[in-house]
Amino acid sequence: MARVVIFGSLRAFTNGEGEMEIDAQTTRELLRKLATLHPALAETIEAGVSLAIDGEVFKEAWFTPISAESEVVVMPLMVGG
């Protein structure tokens, strides 16, 4: 089970829950399960999010493998200049 961390303001859509465990092999599976678990988050996920998996930031990648020991931080989609 990967440890999923929801960043501050997104917790408004998870009833204040900041951390949870989700069983997923890939980022896509994790995001699907997250959206099912917390339907209020679905809109944000649909609009695009970035994920930090064990410290590395992944932008819009569905099939990045996630291990049971992984820490996944869900963040808004990042942009640059």
Partner: protein, 737 residues
């Protein structure tokens, strides 16, 4: 990770250099075709007004006018972000800021087009406007767009508040309770423009058959294609976009301002249309970045340990919804290893041009505020600013304030280099102060495509899809040469148009050398694999028994066979007989871009009688992972530092009570000139990024983050008074004295 490089770290001449020093290079406004028309845009003279009616009949009747368009010529777009982009290019119903486009003309000459603009009659009904972030966020402010307020926000903020973000961990109140000194300050920074010297320019040709050609100055021609085809309702395959040479972008060319207008005019007139912004239009209707109002509270022990940190960032981003304050909230405390931290941010709309990214968008202002408070804490507690930052510095394993746990990073190395540098111990003259600041940027990977062809004469053509904004064709050629094991000048790298190579994201996030580099290395490896196969065929041995060493195929060991190495040129020469052309390509979306930290140090002198600040000495330290072409890496660091100096001292969007921009030109929008500056000493630190085969991190953006606070901290020491507002223009400093 590869360590022994032959080409990386050298300083060859860039492939496009000759064209750029002889005037041959073609930029956005340099292309012309026979029969083309010239276009001009009519812009709102009001900060906020309902467009009651537009009468274009007199303009259309003028001899030489071939097409006139208004917002009515654009059909609705389903995707709301594309719709905002379209409405920013051409107002529909309401003009939302001074300079907002309301109509456009294509005519046989620039003179006729300018004449036609004067004949367009627009009836405006002036509406209340707001340009200040705190006023726009307050309940009761004129609201730019209804129904876009960020979810879950209460009535204490207005409908202009389109985003709310919060990052952090721990319990900040507990953190502050443990502090021996808590400082809580409010800061303001002005909106600043990217200030590229090349105004936006394009040449559009959209035929009646729905096929189009577009030449334009952009940071991403695939982005232009996607956005324009969506706005114009055509298939993206039918619109071929070619990126011209780009005369600076810094984030400001990661969207479109004029391209849909030129395409629509071309479609209506049935002729190619050239559209180039004037400098005044660039200032009034492109860019800028956000202005900010920020509260920063940091608690510290007497020994210098940060016990708690809290940031509240309110960013003003202009006339349409946007999402950028989160980058500020994520960056604010990224340099520190904190147990109790929270950074919150609000995105706010106003009657100003819609913001677009500017180099490390959102980070410089937040870090300015945080690093100012850090400096004040050090000053009050009589602590060394570098030692204190070292004590709190983020390092490998630190759980960052924005969530992820850092891998290998180079902040400690940069701080140690700064501390050991002779600049830090040099004596200071009277009226002079020395400021230090950290800075940070994430860096991105993103989508990328590279196609490489091995020619029969042993040379290599490489096509990539990212506009070369500051020498990337050189660094990409170098990585290709390194990977293939051949000389740099045997490779020609070009930026392909949207029909010649696969999709690539915009040139942003300091991603090009990183992402295109990975794709280039992978493309080279694919070509190498094929070349090994050809050698194996020629030698009649197993392909697995061939390896690639120093630019040549060779048997992997004595058992594999006894053949002399066969060079790339030799394999290429016979490729027609061994199975046809040899190529390699790679398409992907690499991540693991590797964050980058920098530390800047500046000596400033303030004239106590005039408040004039001059930069006397500047040294910038930055972890870049691996510098492919060190001269261009230094150039990125130097350029970023100077943009930050401009932000700190003189650059600002000045609005009057009437909501009109007062300084839309380089005369009164004051970017630094050569005589304002000393040499900028760039010190490259190399802590390899584990996410790249050569250790590369992006380097372009971090450099603009530290200078704001470094300069401000220097001024604080020079005059004994701390400034809480940027720019620190002479009238403000003199008033504070």
């Amino acid at each position: 990770m590869k360590q022994d490089f032959k080409i990386l770290g050298t300083r060859p001449i860039r492939p496009d250099g000759l064209d750029k020093v002889t005037g041959k290079a073609m930029f956005g406004s340099d292309k012309s075709v026979t029969g083309m028309l010239h276009a001009r845009i009519l812009r709102s003279p009001h900060a906020h007004a309902e467009i009651v009616s537009i009468d274009t009949s007199k303009a259309e009747a003028l001899a030489g006018v071939k097409a006139v368009i208004t917002g009515d010529d654009f059909a609705d777009v389903e995707n709301r972000w594309a719709r905002y982009t379209m409405q920013n290019c051409m107002a529909q119903g309401r003009a939302l800021y001074d300079g907002h486009a309301v109509a456009a003309v294509a005519a046989i000459s620039k003179t006729v087009a300018a004449e036609a603009l004067k004949l367009i009659e627009v009836e405006y009904k002036i509406l209340p406007h707001v340009t200040d972030v705190d006023e726009a966020m307050a309940p009761g402010a004129p609201v730019l767009h209804e129904g876009v307020k960020a979810r879950k926000l209460g009535d204490d903020v207005s409908g202009n508040t389109v985003g709310y973000y919060s990052f952090g961990h721990g319990d900040i109140e507990a953190g502050f309770a443990n502090a021996e000194l808590v400082i809580d300050r409010t800061f303001k920074t002005a909106a600043v423009h990217q200030g590229y010297i090349e105004p936006h320019g394009c040449l559009a040709d959209l035929g009646g058959d729905g096929r189009g050609e577009l030449w334009c100055s952009t940071q991403g021609h695939y982005m232009v294609r996607e956005v324009c085809s969506e706005i114009l309702g055509i298939d993206s395959s039918q619109l071929r976009v070619t990126a011209s040479e780009i005369g600076g972008g810094f984030g400001g060319k990661t969207t479109v301002f004029i391209e849909p207008v030129a395409l629509k005019l071309s479609q209506k007139a049935g002729k190619p249309v050239k559209l180039v912004m004037s400098r005044e239009e660039v200032f009034r209707a492109s860019g800028p970045t956000m202005s900010a109002s920020m509260d920063i509270k940091i608690g510290m022990t007497k020994a210098g340990k940060i016990t708690g940190a809290h940031a509240k960032l309110r960013y003003q981003g202009g006339a349409f919804p946007y999402q950028m304050v989160m980058m500020g909230a994520m960056s604010a405390f990224a340099a520190y290893d904190l147990e109790h931290v929270q950074a919150e941010g609000w995105d706010v709309m106003t009657n100003r041009p819609k913001m677009i990214s500017y180099r490390a968008p959102g980070a410089p202002m937040a870090v300015y505020a945080v690093e100012s408070v850090m400096d004040e804490l050090c000053q009050k507690l009589e602590l060394d600013p570098i030692d204190t930052r070292l004590m709190n510095a983020a390092r490998e394993g630190t759980k960052s304030s924005y969530g992820p746990t850092f891998k290998a990073i180079g902040l400690v190395e940069a701080l140690e280099a700064a501390k050991a540098h002779p600049h830090y111990s040099a004596p200071l003259a009277p009226n002079t102060g020395r400021g230090v600041s950290c800075g940070f940027w994430f860096n991105f990977g993103g989508q990328v495509s590279v196609s490489m062809a091995i020619n029969a004469d042993g040379t290599v053509n490489l096509i990539e899809g990212n506009p070369d904004i500051g020498g990337s064709r050189a660094s990409i050629s170098m990585m290709a040469a390194e990977a293939l094991g051949i000389e740099y000048d045997r490779i020609r790298t070009i930026v392909g148009d949207t029909a010649s190579v696969g999709f690539s994201d915009v040139t942003d996030g300091s991603r090009v050398t990183f992402a295109v580099g990975i794709a280039t290395i992978n493309a080279a490896n694919a070509a190498i694999k094929e070349m090994c196969k050809r050698a194996a065929k020629i030698w009649e041995i197993d392909a697995e028994a061939v390896e690639w060493v120093d630019g040549a195929a060779q048997p992997s060991g004595h058992n594999a066979g006894n053949f002399p190495p066969m060079s790339l040129a030799e394999i290429a020469a016979t490729s027609g007989k061994t199975g046809g052309p040899i190529a390699g390509h790679h398409e992907g979306a690499p991540d693991k871009a590797g964050v980058s930290f920098g530390v800047h140090m500046v000596d400033v002198e303030v004239d106590p009688e005039t408040g004039f600040t001059s930069i006397k000495r500047y040294t910038a330290f930055q972890d870049v992972g691996k510098a492919i072409h060190p001269a261009y890496v230094e150039g990125q660091i130097q350029g970023g530092a100077v943009q930050g100096i401009g932000w700190a001292l003189n650059e600002e969007y000045i609005y009057g009570e009437d909501g009109l921009l007062q300084n839309p030109g380089f005369l009164d929008y004051r970017i630094p000139v050569a005589s304002d500056l000393p040499m900028i000493d760039a010190v490259i630190i190399e802590v390899p990024n584990p996410g790249h085969p050569y250790g590369v991190r992006g380097c372009g953006e971090t450099a603009i983050v530290p200078p704001l606070a470094a300069v401000s901290n220097g001024v604080a020491q020079a005059i004994g008074v701390r400034m809480f507002e940027l720019p620190m223009s002479p009238p403000k400093i003199l008033k504070a004295l």
